[in-house]
C-alpha cells in the first residue's frame, strides 16, 4: 500500500503543489492529471524517491520510502520520458542490463520473448539507435513483461505508440491490476480501464 501525506514540491522558486495526499491500494490505478509544467513528472519522480519532497512524506507499507529504500525500490519500476536505453546496445542487451540492475536477472530468451510480445520480431538484436521512436518506446515497455515489481510508475506511457500497442499496453495494465499490482501514470489520452479501480489526482 503506497501512501502520500501532504506532499509539497518547489521547482526553481515556484511552488508546484502543496498539501497533496492520497493512498493507493493493491489493484488500483492512480491517474495524475494536470497541464504541462504543473509538476506531474516532479510528483512521479518524488514518488520514486528521486526528488526529495519539500514537505510531507511518502510511505510504503507504512514506512517512509527513504528509510526502506532498498525494499521499496525492489518493488518499483519507473519509466520516465527518457527510454533509459543505451543506443549502442541491442534491445536484448538493454533489457537484460536493466533487469539485472533491478535485481531480477533474466535469460537471453526471456528477453527475446518479451520483445516479441511487444511486436518487435526481428528487431531484437539491432542496436537500439537504429529503431524508430515508437519501437524504442516498446523496447522500454517490454520491461513491464519481465518485471515482477508490484508498483509501476509510468510517465506518459502511451506517447508515440500506435493503436495496436496502446491496446496491448492497456491489456497489460489491466492484467497487472487484477494480479494485485499498482500503477501510477500520467497521460493526456483517456484511459478506459474499468473506472472502479481508478483514482484521480489533479495538479495545477
Amino acid at each position: 500500500m503506497l501512501e502520500a501525506v501532504d506532499l509539497a514540491a518547489v521547482r526553481g522558486d515556484r511552488r508546484l503543489f502543496a498539501g497533496l495526499g492520497f493512498s493507493l491500494l493493491e489493484g488500483e490505478l492512480l491517474h495524475v492529471h494536470g497541464v504541462n509544467g504543473s509538476g506531474k513528472t516532479t510528483l512521479l519522480r518524488m514518488l520514486c524517491g528521486l526528488v526529495v519532497p519539500e514537505e510531507g512524506r511518502i510511505l510504503w507499507e507504512g514506512k517512509d520510502i527513504r528509510s526502506e529504500r532498498e525494499a521499496y525500490l525492489r518493488n518499483l519500476v519507473y519509466l520516465g520520458h527518457l527510454g533509459a536505453l543505451k543506443g549502442d546496445l541491442t534491445g536484448v542487451e538493454n533489457l537484460r542490463i536493466t533487469e539485472t540492475l533491478a535485481g531480477e536477472a533474466v535469460t537471453e530468451d526471456q528477453a527475446m520473448a518479451a520483445l516479441q510480445d511487444v511486436g518487435l520480431h526481428g528487431h531484437e538484436d539491432l542496436p537500439v539507435r537504429v529503431l524508430s521512436q515508437g519501437q524504442r518506446r516498446r523496447v522500454a515497455l517490454a520491461r513491464l513483461a519481465l518485471s515482477q515489481a508490484g508498483l509501476w510508475i509510468l510517465d506518459e506511457p502511451f506517447t508515440a505508440l500506435d493503436k495496436a500497442s496502446v491496446a496491448a499496453l492497456r491489456a497489460r495494465l489491466e492484467n497487472h491490476l487484477k494480479q494485485g499490482g499498482m500503477v501510477i501514470l500520467t497521460t493526456h489520452q483517456e484511459i478506459d480501464i474499468d473506472t472502479a479501480l481508478v483514482k484521480q489526482v489533479a495538479l495545477g
Binding site: 518547489v10 521547482r11 526553481g12 522558486d13 515556484r14 511552488r15 526529495v52
Partner: protein, 249 residues
C-alpha cells in the same frame, strides 16, 4: 561563529530569522568598527618597532588574522553546508553561500598582504612557502564554490551541490596543507615560513588578536547582511515577504 549555528537552530525558519538578523547586524558592525580602531591603534603605535624588520612586520597584523579568518570561514561554511544537507534546512544552506564571498575576500587579502610582506623580507613578491601556497589553493576552492553555485539555475540544487563541494573541500584542506608542506621541505629546505615571525612580544600578539576579533565581528555583520538579501531573494514568493514589501512602500 560556529556556536551561533546551534542556537540559531530554533530560529531556523527564514521568516523568523530575517528580523532577528536585522536587529543584530548593527551591533556586530559597530563592534567591528570599534575593534578595528583599537587594533589599528595598537598595531601602529603600541607595538614596538621590530629590531630586524623595522616597520615592515606591521603587515603581519592584518596578514595573519586574514589567513586565520580565511581558513576559519571555510570550515564554518562546510559546517553550515553539512547542516543544510542533513537537516534540509534552507537557512543553513543560505548561511553557507553568504559566507563564501567574505571568505574569498579574506583569502585574497591574506595572499596580497603576504606578497607585500614577502617583498621586503625576502625580496620576492611570491614565495612557494607551504602556508602561502595552501592559501592560494584555498582561494581556488572558494572560487570553485561560488562558480558552481552561480552556474546552477535551480537555487535548491545550487546550494545543495555547492554544499557538498564545501564538505569535500574541507576534508581535503588538511591533506593539501600536508602535501604542500612535504613538497616544500623536500625542494627548498625549511625556508623562513611566515609563522616563525620574530618572537612575539605579548603586545604584538594582543594587537593581532584584537584585529582577528575585529575581522570576526566584521564577518558576522557582513554575513548577516548578505543572508538577509539571500532570504529576500529566495522567499520572494512567500506571503511574509510580500507583506514586508507592503509596509516598506
Amino acid at each position: 561563529m560556529a556556536f551561533a549555528g546551534i542556537n540559531w537552530f530554533k530560529y531556523s525558519s527564514p521568516a523568523t530569522f530575517y528580523p532577528l538578523a536585522g536587529k543584530m547586524m548593527p551591533w556586530f558592525a559597530g563592534l567591528a568598527a570599534v575593534l578595528t580602531v583599537i587594533g589599528l591603534y595598537m598595531s601602529f603605535f603600541v607595538a614596538p618597532t621590530d629590531y630586524k624588520q623595522g616597520e615592515a612586520y606591521r603587515i603581519m597584523f592584518i596578514h595573519v588574522p586574514a589567513a586565520w579568518m580565511s581558513m576559519f570561514i571555510y570550515v564554518v561554511m562546510a559546517v553550515y553546508a553539512a547542516m543544510g544537507l542533513i537537516f534540509n534546512t534552507r537557512l543553513s544552506a543560505m548561511m553557507a553561500s553568504s559566507l563564501a564571498p567574505t571568505g574569498a575576500l579574506f583569502t585574497f587579502l591574506a595572499l596580497w598582504t603576504g606578497a607585500l610582506w614577502g617583498k621586503p623580507m625576502w625580496g620576492t613578491w611570491w614565495v612557494w612557502d607551504a602556508r602561502l601556497t595552501t592559501e592560494l589553493i584555498l582561494l581556488f576552492l572558494y572560487i570553485g564554490f561560488m562558480s558552481l553555485e552561480a552556474a546552477i539555475d535551480d537555487p535548491r540544487r545550487a546550494t545543495r551541490a555547492s554544499g557538498l563541494l564545501a564538505i569535500v573541500g574541507v576534508v581535503n584542506v588538511p591533506i593539501i596543507y600536508f602535501s604542500v608542506e612535504w613538497w616544500n621541505t623536500l625542494h627548498q629546505g625549511a625556508s623562513i615560513s611566515l609563522d616563525k615571525a620574530p618572537s612575539m612580544a605579548t603586545i604584538m600578539l594582543a594587537s593581532m588578536l584584537v584585529m582577528t576579533l575585529a575581522f570576526w565581528m566584521y564577518t558576522i555583520a557582513m554575513v548577516l547582511y548578505r543572508v538577509r538579501c539571500e532570504i529576500l531573494e529566495r522567499e520572494r514568493h512567500s506571503e511574509w515577504v510580500v507583506a514586508l514589501m507592503e509596509e516598506r512602500k
